[in-house]
Symmetry: C2
């Protein structure tokens, strides 16, 4: 097994670049950090190009299964590769998945319209996975799914639920044509309490930007607007919490 | 009106210290950042000791109401005071509220057991406020409510719902004695789906640490454990999302 002790090694320089969107696109790869996420990736059938481990992780099953692609690294190298302050010492270079929308649009969809905060995007993918959503769609202006903060917040849910990028302006009419009701989330005159919609596995829910809400052009295309009635005095909910409340009701 | 152009001014040095727990306790004050939060604070009846504004915010109602306590600051000073990268130019020194538990324990409670992430703590206070919780209790090991990250995530909900620190080991038996059912959140043999509990305004819900879950000593004292059934493959939910799903069901 190859051992790398210096962050200046070319393989380490390349791996570190794969935390950045530009290089992820160029190389069609991304760097995944942490034993939990690497195990999830492999369990889902994804094939690591390279695994990097500190000595502590030499006995991992993944290392046995991908021995020829494994490189032992020093803690200094682990610190350099890491996007977290206290890295655990296991990383993998993974292929960027090429996930497409299903040709037959059916089932449940979570559509993210310009969700800026990476933690919110990751939390919503994780929540969608937990609730049983079939497809998550990231619209224009939404934080990139393979940034390190989104990867951390997703907790591996990208290996359980397809995460697709698409133009929501084009997608919403197609969903409606396919008989999938599209629910917006914005408090206006036409909005219904979310509990007025009976549980269903056939819908698309659109969550809008943290500060500005949904794009009016998208809102105009939805079948129905939903809101969460509040007994208290907060003006709004965190967008990830709001998505969780509505999804666990709809998919109950 | 006094004008301060330099971050080295003693009043600015003191204000900056009031973003840190040690000094907050010593001076019994904290620094609040952002026009939205300062407006919320004043609307709730809290009395600012000092308001700092850049020229852009000179026409705020708060500035008119507290003219003698207002100091105009330069953008450089605003940048220095701020805990956010792009500050908006309005700050206030506020008294630390001294909130006690109600002597008559009744109503709905959200108990946070060692919630470490400030964003999660703040989001849960905001969610509790929105859902109509009567009292939020921060147990041992929970991030401090007046750290800048918690303040940001609370979005002013600390002015709508009492946020109290208490020893949960002592509080839980008292809640039970007062006839308030205490629900833990942990997936174990005795746990019930949260939807099995009918909506109610008389309960205490305990949310546990992000990585380790609830303290077993607390868990042993609860009346009932609840869990969120997951249709998908995620192992767990973000703790703030989980709190939202359960609270909006219980307080529906």
């Amino acid at each position: 097994m190859e051992t790398i002790m210096s962050p200046k090694n070319d393989k380490i320089k390349r791996a570190k670049k794969l935390t950045r969107r530009k290089y992820q696109k160029d190389y069609d790869r991304y760097l995944l950090e942490g034993p939990h996420l690497v195990r999830e990736a492999i369990a889902s059938g994804a094939q690591p190009e390279t695994i990097f481990v500190t000595s502590k992780y030499l006995h991992e099953q993944a290392v046995r299964d991908y021995y020829d692609q494994t490189i032992e690294i020093s803690s200094e190298v682990a610190q350099h590769l890491a996007e977290t302050p206290t890295p655990q010492g296991m990383f993998a270079i993974m292929p960027l998945p090429h996930v497409e929308l299903p040709t037959n649009l059916a089932g449940s969809f979570l559509l993210l319209d310009a969700i800026q905060d990476p933690g919110n995007v990751g939390t919503m993918v994780r929540t969608a996975d937990a609730a049983g959503i079939d497809t998550v769609v990231l619209g224009h202006g939404t934080a990139d799914a393979y940034s390190s903060k989104v990867l951390r917040a997703m907790q591996g849910s990208q290996f359980h639920v397809p995460v697709v990028s698409a133009n929501l302006n084009h997608l919403i009419p197609k969903l409606k044509d396919a008989g999938v009701p599209v629910y917006g989330t914005e408090l206006n005159d036409q909005a219904l309490p979310y509990t007025d919609v009976a549980p269903t596995t056939n819908f698309a829910l659109v969550m809008g930007n943290e500060g500005n809400g949904m794009d009016p052009a998208l809102l105009a295309q939805t079948d129905q607007n939903l809101y969460i009635p509040m007994r208290g005095r907060a003006e709004s909910l965190n967008v990830g919490v709001a998505a969780g409340v509505v999804l666990f009701h709809l998919l109950a």
